[in-house]
């Protein structure tokens, strides 16, 4: 009888501990999700507001009580933005620069990384360490002299000035070299025994094996061209060579006051759209590349 009572008391005690810990768990889950969802909304809100605003009429945009979806959907804002900011020309300029510089950059990165990973030559390690050391220096330091250099070369307002100075990225060389180093050297020696040329080996073995890294580099390089602002504004500010970010900013110089925001937001949405497409389809490669690089674009 007595032991029975003790048992039930204990049972009760245990029961309360059980429920308490269960409630705690559920509460923690709810809080976690609530926090994440609120943060996600904050992160997404600017994108939503961009699209919402870009579809409104100017009058609706100016209303003191904001609407959360346009009453009249104005797709014409996009057409207006396209012509107002001369986006067509900017797109073409940016694509030309992006594609050419990506291709050339990949070629240079691959052969340089190959030399550092597979070939033996005097001073290899010192040279490589020297290259890595330059990564510590902020880019602005180079820009000052490079501006004079390209002026002397007579490259101002050409595609060349947008492409050539940034073809070599020490970081990409480093990334690809690490990748190449993981490929067993025996494969290379076997290819040599079979009489395969270096270039053929590079093309048939090393490049396929390091394709993910090359794709990451391609995407980051293209995004770099799309997002670059400072250098293009400095050296190629004419209509024939202006790049998209610079063009967008200079087409809408007014930032405050009574601006035609719907058209401006439409232009912003058009400029952002290709990035989103790349993101949707190639997220994996971007995330992989970014987590190793820590650089933007």
């Amino acid at each position: 009888m007595a032991s029975n009572t003790i048992a039930t008391m204990k049972e009760k005690n245990m029961q309360s501990v059980k429920t308490a810990s269960q409630i705690g768990k559920v509460m923690a889950m709810i809080l976690t999700y609530a926090f994440l969802i609120v943060m996600a909304i904050i992160v997404l809100f600017p994108f939503y507001w961009m699209i919402n605003s870009s579809l409104k009429t100017l009058d609706e945009y100016r209303q003191s009580v904001p609407t959360f979806w346009p009453k009249v959907v104005m797709f014409s804002n996009y057409a207006e933005a396209f012509s107002a900011a001369n986006l067509g020309r900017l797109f073409i300029n940016t694509m030309i620069v992006g594609i050419i510089s990506t291709i050339l950059s990949l070629v240079i990165t691959v052969i340089t990384a190959f030399a550092f990973a597979r070939l033996e030559f005097k001073g290899k390690n010192i040279l490589f360490a020297g290259l890595l050391a330059t990564m510590m220096i902020p880019g602005e330091l180079f820009t000052i002299t490079n501006y004079s250099t390209v002026t002397t070369f007579g490259w101002i307002n050409t595609y060349t000035v947008l492409i050539v100075p940034f073809l070599v990225s020490v970081f990409y060389i480093y990334l690809l070299r690490q990748n190449f180093m993981q490929i067993p050297n025996e494969l290379y020696l076997a290819a040599k025994v079979d009489g395969t040329s270096d270039l053929k080996y590079l093309w048939k073995v090393m490049i396929p094996l390091s394709l993910p890294t090359l794709i990451s580099i391609t995407i980051l390089k293209m995004m770099g061209a799309w997002n670059s602002y400072i250098w293009p504004r400095l050296v190629a500010n004419d209509d024939a060579h202006k790049l998209i970010t610079n063009g967008l900013r200079s087409a809408f110089t007014e930032t405050t006051g009574d601006v035609n925001y719907p058209v401006q937001m439409a232009a912003v949405a058009l400029v952002s759209a290709p990035l989103f497409l790349v993101f949707v389809f190639l997220r994996k490669y971007i995330m992989k590349g970014v987590s190793r690089s820590g650089i933007k674009g």
Binding site: F35, M39, L119, V168, M265, V271
Partner: protein, 314 residues
């Protein structure tokens, strides 16, 4: 024979990269230092055959220049405010993300989204969100009075609207907007790195902590954060480096004038100062400023490394 042939081939492969690096990376390092130490060096005047005396006048002038001190202040302020906020938020979001199963991938994708944006373009969206169309405290016959969605939200919760970025706005309001935008922009990279770090922590530490009866917050501060300290150190250091090079996000919101319409240049940063000096052909001063920036970044990084070495426990 084979050896020497190989040597020759290696240098052939390296040639394009080395030529470009020599012109656009190595030469600028020397030249920037040279220009910085030539009094009042100007590319234009140099082209005209003028010669310049050696000295540290450029550095002196830059440091005495009130504009430069303002740039330094703004840059440092943005760094000091945004790095801790974004790191803490990213930490909390990563830990929360790591603890859930349903919706994890979707939320992870959403949080990474700001990374693939154009900081000028989205800066313009932020400007639109903070902007007041028309004069807000307006005259009676004013019809247009969009306070901006941010002010709408503030008023919805019973606050008073703020003049964030328009004419007559305060420096504090401007900086607040910049902090919000920079934090928003900095989150994805930090979350990516921290979440990767969290996922590589051995689950047994958490099992052990559970058996030991740790509360959630104790697990976070006593176990997760120390185990994550190498990644935290990494995002903090890269955060500071990025912060000292802040420029385009301000251009995105305030335009190339780097400030509200009535006070252009108010929010100028170190990088902005360098480009301004460059565009007035004061290469000497620009070089000096760039070297100072490099020095600051170096010192801040070294301090960070020293601190993190002390606190990164294994």
């Amino acid at each position: 024979m084979v050896e020497s042939k190989k040597q020759w081939k290696a240098w052939l492969y390296l040639a394009p990269a080395l030529v470009l690096l020599a012109i656009f990376t190595v030469w600028p390092i020397f030249n920037t230092v040279r220009m910085a130490f030539l009094e009042n060096y100007s590319g234009l005047k140099a082209a005209g055959g003028e010669t310049f005396a050696f000295g540290i006048g450029n550095f002196k002038k830059v440091l005495e220049y009130k504009k430069f001190v303002n740039c330094l202040k703004t840059t440092a302020l943005l760094c000091v405010a945004t790095v801790p906020i974004s790191t803490l938020l990213a930490l909390l979001i990563s830990v929360a993300l790591n603890s859930i199963k349903p919706l994890q991938r979707l939320l992870q994708t959403i949080f990474f989204l700001p990374y693939v944006t154009n900081s000028i373009a989205i800066g313009m969206v932020f400007a639109a969100m903070f902007n007041i169309v028309g004069s807000f405290h307006g005259t009676q016959n004013e019809i247009i009075a969009t306070a901006g969605i941010v002010n709408n939200v503030i008023e919805f919760f019973g606050g008073t609207a703020v003049n964030w970025i328009n004419s007559g706005s305060s420096y504090a309001a401007n900086i607040t907007v910049m902090i919000i935008y920079i934090v928003w922009n900095a989150l994805p990279f930090k979350i990516l790195i921290l979440l990767g770090g969290l996922q590589s922590i051995n689950k047994q530490y958490y099992d052990a902590a559970k058996v030991d009866g740790s509360t959630r917050s104790r697990i976070l501060w006593r176990i997760t954060v120390p185990l994550l300290s190498p990644m935290l150190a990494y995002v903090i250091i890269t955060g500071f480096i990025g912060g000292f090079k802040e420029y385009t996000s301000i251009v995105g919101i305030f335009g190339a004038t780097m400030g509200p319409p009535d006070d252009g240049g108010r929010l100028n940063t170190m990088v902005g100062f360098i480009y301004d000096a460059l565009s007035t052909n004061s290469q000497g001063r620009a070089s000096a400023a760039a070297l100072i920036l490099f020095g600051i970044i170096l010192v801040v990084t070294l301090i960070n490394l020293a601190v993190s070495k002390k606190n990164t426990h294994y």
